[in-house]
């Protein structure tokens, strides 16, 4: 034998053997699966509970205590107008927020990113400080503001206390610091040259903003819209505090009213309403997943 003996590959130096690579992957997946089990179990229970008369652990039980007793009676609420009213209110708040926060942040963020004016720095730091205040701290003050707004003739009926408009207005205000800073960040990343070119080409400042700059920050607007929609859709504290009764309740408040009634709580019904509330968001996520991944992966594509 004249072949030269070579030492077996050592794990530290040479490429890692395939079997070890595989094992590492199994380990990683195993760890991930283990860590999300609590959430998965929660969702599983939620879905099972909505179609069961009652549950014991994850198992649906019928009257005799055996497995079974599937029912759609928990979903009967979809035939009642109250839930649709609550859903409409949720939708109104969310849509109003998306539009309000979107418009104010896109224009305000541009101005703060591009223009020089007195108080700009103070405004920027001020909004950050304001964002640190929790909504809970402002509830009483906001109550007085809404009462005041309600006394304004004509528009008072839309934006005062105990109106969907009033709730939406407060929610927009609370969300604006985040929105303005987010959009300012997106505008900061755009080159000045494009703007200058448009000005020289004959566009007015407003047209430059609308036709040239806004299209460049579309990923930012999409992300902001999505976050704002979710915040508006799931809004609980503000609507709960500033609305009375079922007429102006949104979905989370409606859900709470189911629990806090004096009758024993039907948890399976609560689960069904909760799942029902999630459906629009799930659909929304499925359609915007790719866009969201793009945004998370590094902002706008191209320049």
């Amino acid at each position: 034998m004249t072949t030269v003996e070579t030492a077996p590959p050592r794990p530290a130096a040479g490429p890692i053997p395939r079997s070890r690579q595989k094992m590492g992957r199994y380990f990683a997946y195993g760890f991930l699966i283990l860590s999300i089990i609590p959430i998965l179990v929660g969702y599983a229970w939620l879905i099972i509970a909505t179609v069961s008369a009652r549950t014991q652990g994850l198992l649906p039980k019928n009257a005799e205590g055996g497995i079974g007793g599937f029912t759609l009676s928990n979903w009967d609420f979809v035939f009642e107008s109250a839930i649709w009213n609550a859903m409409l209110n949720s939708l109104l708040i969310a849509v109003f927020m998306v539009i309000g926060v979107g418009l104010a942040s896109t224009s305000g963020g541009y101005a703060l990113s591009r223009m020089k004016f007195a108080g700009r720095k103070t405004f920027l730091t001020g909004t950050l400080v304001l964002h640190a205040f929790k909504a809970e701290m402002l509830l009483i003050a906001i109550f007085f503001v809404l009462r005041f707004l309600g006394d304004i003739p004509i528009i008072g009926g839309f934006i005062g206390f105990n109106t969907v408009g009033g709730v939406a207005l407060v929610m927009v205000a609370l969300e604006l610091p985040l929105g303005i800073w987010l959009m300012k960040g997106f505008f900061d990343n755009l080159s000045w040259d494009m703007e200058r070119a448009a000005l020289i080409d004959g566009a007015s400042r407003f047209r430059v903003w609308w036709q040239i700059m806004v299209p460049q920050v579309r990923p930012g607007i999409a992300a902001l819209s999505l976050f704002t929609f979710i915040v508006g859709w799931n809004a609980y504290l503000v609507p709960f505090t500033f609305t009375i009764g079922t007429k102006v309740a949104n979905m989370p408040v409606f859900l709470n009213q189911l629990i806090s009634d004096t009758a024993p709580v039907n948890w399976n019904l609560v689960a069904a309403v909760g799942l029902f509330q999630m459906i629009p968001l799930i659909i929304f996520f499925i359609f915007t997943q790719e866009l969201l991944l793009n945004i998370y992966a590094g902002g706008s594509k191209g320049t």
């Binding site: 000005l199 004959g202 191209g302």
Partner: protein, 366 residues
Amino acid sequence: MRVELDNLTKSWDEVIGADSITLDIADGELVAFLGPSGCGKTTTLLMVAGIYKPTAGTISFDGQVVNEVAPKDRGIGMVFQSYALYPHMTVFGNISYPLRLQKLNKGVIKERVQTVADMMGIGDLLERKIAQLSGGQQQRVALGRALVKEPQLLLFDEPLSNLDARLRLTMRGEIKRLQEDLGITSIYVTHDQVEAMTMADRIAVMSKGVLQAYDVPEALYDRPKTLFVAAFVGNPPMNFFDVEVMRVNGDLRAKSDAIDLVIPHDRGEKAAAVDGKVIMGVRPEDVDVVDDASPAAEGLTLAGEAVVVEPLGREDLVGISINGVDLRVLVDKTRGVRVGDTITLVFNTSRAQFFDPETEASLLWA
């Protein structure tokens, strides 16, 4: 269009971007603003464009002060270093944008865009998105967009800096040809002195916000008024030595510890009048490498040692040390100079420049 800048100044609080720039540009002329980054050339250009408001001074187009005129009403086209194309529009959308803002008839727009695009050689790319184009093609689109509105004045802000060397050479010629054909007055900002020398009718050399010199390229090269201009214009750059010019037996001699050269009277009189040291400048091509010093070169010959040899292809750029004083000269490749060789140099001192070390002004042309 005739352009006049009169004491044009731009400052932000403490920082001065451009300091009292005064110059005039004749109709149809291409003027280059040349200087290192941060010298104020782009600031000046943006004031001409109307993007920056001057702190002081005036800008006039054909005798009319335009300080308060909005950029869109100045009749200018501008090409940016970053191209500044609108990425969400097609090539057609980009080039037609200025015309669409003028609310021209659709047929007219289409025709004019096609004409300009054909002229730029991108006539078949009109439906493409900007991201699908190469850098050179994007530059052509930017040029087309600037030209389509038939501007009176074209502004270029380092338009070729982002292109690779070869393309830069091609585009350089193309821009110059276009500008001459169309006869549009142009300002061309660049930090590349070769670009400025080859393209411009006149060059405005700037440094630290101050206009250092404004003249035709040959004059800047042969008769630099300041040390900065002498150092910045020319490639490879001029060599500088600290010397004292003194009279010895009726001759003028530039002397230091390492150097002793005879200077013609028409070059050295003013330098000799200076008490103490002056700065002597010699361009790399004004030093010859010879085998043996001829008697005719008496007083013009020095010996040094080759320290660095950079082959440029046609010739070698050789770094030489004369008793610790460094200079760079261009040497014929066939001479085969190697590091460590002892070299005999003959200086053409009839082309030497002299500068006052205090004011940095020329002792010949200022």
